[in-house]
């Protein structure tokens, strides 16, 4: 690969144009990001832990409550993931063992074929469908509660990642196929970290080393071009652009959570669809863990005239996904009277406003598992050395305290969503006052928040 590291020193504007909050102004931090150790220093330990977790899931104890892999995956990592995404954007994706595996496979046997057009066009839809299918499979076959099921899921993803890394260029898997990447991308839009190029510097640059790479460091693995990047949804903070840019154009700065959502220039229906179905998924996750689920199931069996769980759950799943989608469409129809915008345009635009509430719902739901079952991570780890903790409580905090924390998180998420809807209405509405549109969407957010709070107020079953 040609070296594009040709500095533009004479044309550089003064450093005043750079953002004041730029974390790369800290010399030690910048040195660390530019060093060869980053991101390997995070990737290797995570990869080793991941390998051990996969081994535990496929060969360790078959009971979830005794398996360190189950505890490490579903009680620790899964609840921490949305919190990490909120604070650090998609930083997890550079640490992720699957992405790292993709890089390693590509380095040795990669054919680096260009990404097929259909993946570029329908990638997010594939992610949407995969995400729904995996959630459905989990409920029907019990992936989370069954260590072997979790192990098979991880092996399937590993195989697909190796396939993608061996055939396609860069991180095609992470960008266009990973269902977790789709979720992480959506949540990262609300995140507190952003990496950008400095427009005044980038506009004079013709090298594009950040995208193309240099002889020493490859280009952006996520197919992003910092010069035109206006979203953190696809940036995994790998630092390649920081290392490659000859003009010090790249900045990494903090921002107000949800800020990116206030002015979405090209809203996409598929992104809005993922945002709203995540709300449905959170509902399904909550409902099926509630003690009233058995009663709901019995009523459904009577209505449908079958006891087949595949059918009864599929109907529940379909309804749970459909209700939020219909509610968002209906709200778009009402909002049309105020903003004179089509229903689908409203769906695409204001779907993004659901993301803060999605994130809050995800964090709140998993907070129960993290804080009510958190000690199981330690107990199962001790179990690896033959130490038995049979009968000991797994709770870090008592249930009423966890419930209060869940309510607070939902309230914060609701405020975030309502404010985001207001900002979207304000930035996109040219005719009339945005208040009418904002109130309509505020009602939707409150309705979804009340449904969440009601579900969190009911007793929930544990994973372990």
């Amino acid at each position: 690969m040609a070296d594009f590291k040709t500095p533009l020193k004479h044309e550089l504007p003064s450093s005043k144009v750079k953002k004041e909050k730029d974390l790369l102004k800290n010399i030690k931090f910048k040195k660390f990001i530019k060093s060869k150790k980053y991101p390997g220093v995070f990737q290797w330990p995570v990869a080793i832990i991941f390998a051990f977790i996969v081994f535990e899931l496929i060969a360790g104890p078959a009971e979830a409550h005794n398996n360190f892999g189950t505890a490490g995956t579903w009680v620790l990592w899964w609840p921490l993931l949305p919190i990490l995404l909120l604070f650090f954007g998609r930083f997890w994706c550079i640490v992720c063992p699957f992405g790292f595996l993709n890089d390693v496979v590509q380095k040795f046997v990669g054919n680096k074929k260009p990404v097929p057009k259909f993946l570029k066009k329908y990638g997010i839809w594939i992610i949407d469908i995969t995400f729904l299918m995996i959630t459905w499979s989990d409920h029907v076959w019990g992936i989370v509660e069954n260590p072997r099921g979790s192990g098979v899921l991880l092996l399937m993803i590993t195989t697909a990642v190796i396939f993608s890394g061996a055939l396609f260029e860069r991180r095609t898997w992470c960008r266009y196929l990973c269902f977790l990447g789709g979720l992480s991308g959506n949540y990262s839009r609300t995140g507190m970290v952003e990496l950008r190029g400095t427009p005044e510097i980038c506009k004079k640059c013709t090298a594009a080393s950040c995208y193309k790479g240099t002889s020493e460091v490859p280009g952006c693995p996520m197919f992003e071009f910092p010069k035109t990047m206006d979203s953190s949804a696809e940036c995994n903070l790998c630092g390649n652009c920081v290392k490659n840019c000859p003009n010090d154009s790249i900045t990494i700065s903090t921002r107000i959570p949800t800020q990116e959502l206030w002015d979405i220039k090209k809203p996409k229906i598929e992104v809005a669809f993922l945002a709203i179905v995540i709300m449905g998924i959170v509902f399904v996750q909550n409902i099926t863990m509630l003690k009233i689920w058995d009663e709901i199931l019995k009523s459904l069996e009577n209505i449908l005239g079958t006891t087949n769980y595949y059918i009864t759950f599929t109907v529940t799943f379909f309804i749970a996904m459909l209700i939020p989608v219909l509610l968002l469409l209906l709200t778009g129809l009402i909002a049309k009277k105020f903003n004179k915008t089509s229903i689908m345009e409203n769906f695409a635009k204001f779907g993004y406003a659901i993301i803060p509430l999605d994130l809050a719902g995800h964090i709140a739901h998993n907070l129960f598992h993290l804080l009510a079952e958190g000690k199981s991570v330690g107990y199962t780890f001790m179990g690896l050395f033959g130490m038995n903790s049979h009968g000991a409580s797994t709770a870090i905090l008592p249930s009423p305290t966890i419930q209060i924390l869940q309510y607070i998180i939902i309230i914060i998420g609701t405020i975030g969503s309502i404010y985001t809807a207001y900002r979207i209405a304000k930035s996109s509405q040219t005719k009339g006052h945005p208040l009418g549109t904002s109130i309509v969407y505020a009602i939707l957010m409150i309705l979804l928040a009340v449904a969440n709070i009601y579900l969190f107020s009911l007793p929930m079953a544990m994973r372990m």
């Binding site: 496929i58 078959a62 409550h65 046997v109 098979v152 092996l155 399937m156 195989t159 190796i162 061996a166």
Partner: protein, 175 residues
């Protein structure tokens, strides 16, 4: 060549993913037949080995002529066998299992959730001409070992993908 490589890789991937379903597959069932006072009781599990977690079963209790008992009022409970328990370590109460009518007369199906490995007793209580009777079934629930078929299947596919990709890369470098 490109098409051939792509076809080979897709084929191997499909093969890999299809292995996943095997994780949930079972071979033959586990059956216990008992004859007490002329009554024939049969308890059958769908799985060959009983593992912790949900296990579906079918139970039938028939009279000496092989006919279902009228008004049997069958009830099933499951509990860990505490007869060998030192110092009453196990405190779990018996779990009542919901039953549904099976495909044949006198046959019922249910799902028992074995919480952990060890010895379990499934107790059936029923009425014969108004008199309560019970028949117990003892089971050893074992911790499921790794499924080597699944692990082997995935390993083979992964190796195949890597080998095909490496050969193709070598060819393209030579070309």
């Amino acid at each position: 060549m490109k098409f051939k490589l792509f076809r080979n890789l897709v084929f191997t991937l499909v093969l890999a993913l299809s292995f996943s379903t095997l994780a949930f597959a079972s071979t033959t069932g586990t059956q216990i037949n008992k004859e007490v006072n002329g009554l024939k009781a049969s308890l059958t599990f769908a799985n060959e080995k009983l593992n912790p977690g949900s296990n579906e079963f079918t139970i039938s209790i028939l009279d000496k002529n092989g006919k279902p008992l009228p008004n049997a009022n069958l009830k099933i409970t499951a509990a860990m066998d505490t007869s060998t328990d030192m110092g009453g370590m196990t405190e779990d109460k018996p779990m009542m299992i919901d039953l549904k009518e099976g495909s044949k007369k006198g046959e019922y199906t249910g799902v028992v959730d074995f919480k952990t490995k060890g010895k379990w007793i499934i107790k059936s209580t029923f009425d014969v001409q108004g008199q309560p009777k019970n028949i117990n079934f003892n089971f050893d629930v074992q911790s499921a070992g790794p499924n080597f078929l699944i692990i082997g299947g995935f390993s083979v596919v992964i190796i195949l993908v890597i080998v095909i990709a490496a050969l193709n890369k070598k060819k393209s470098i030579k070309a």
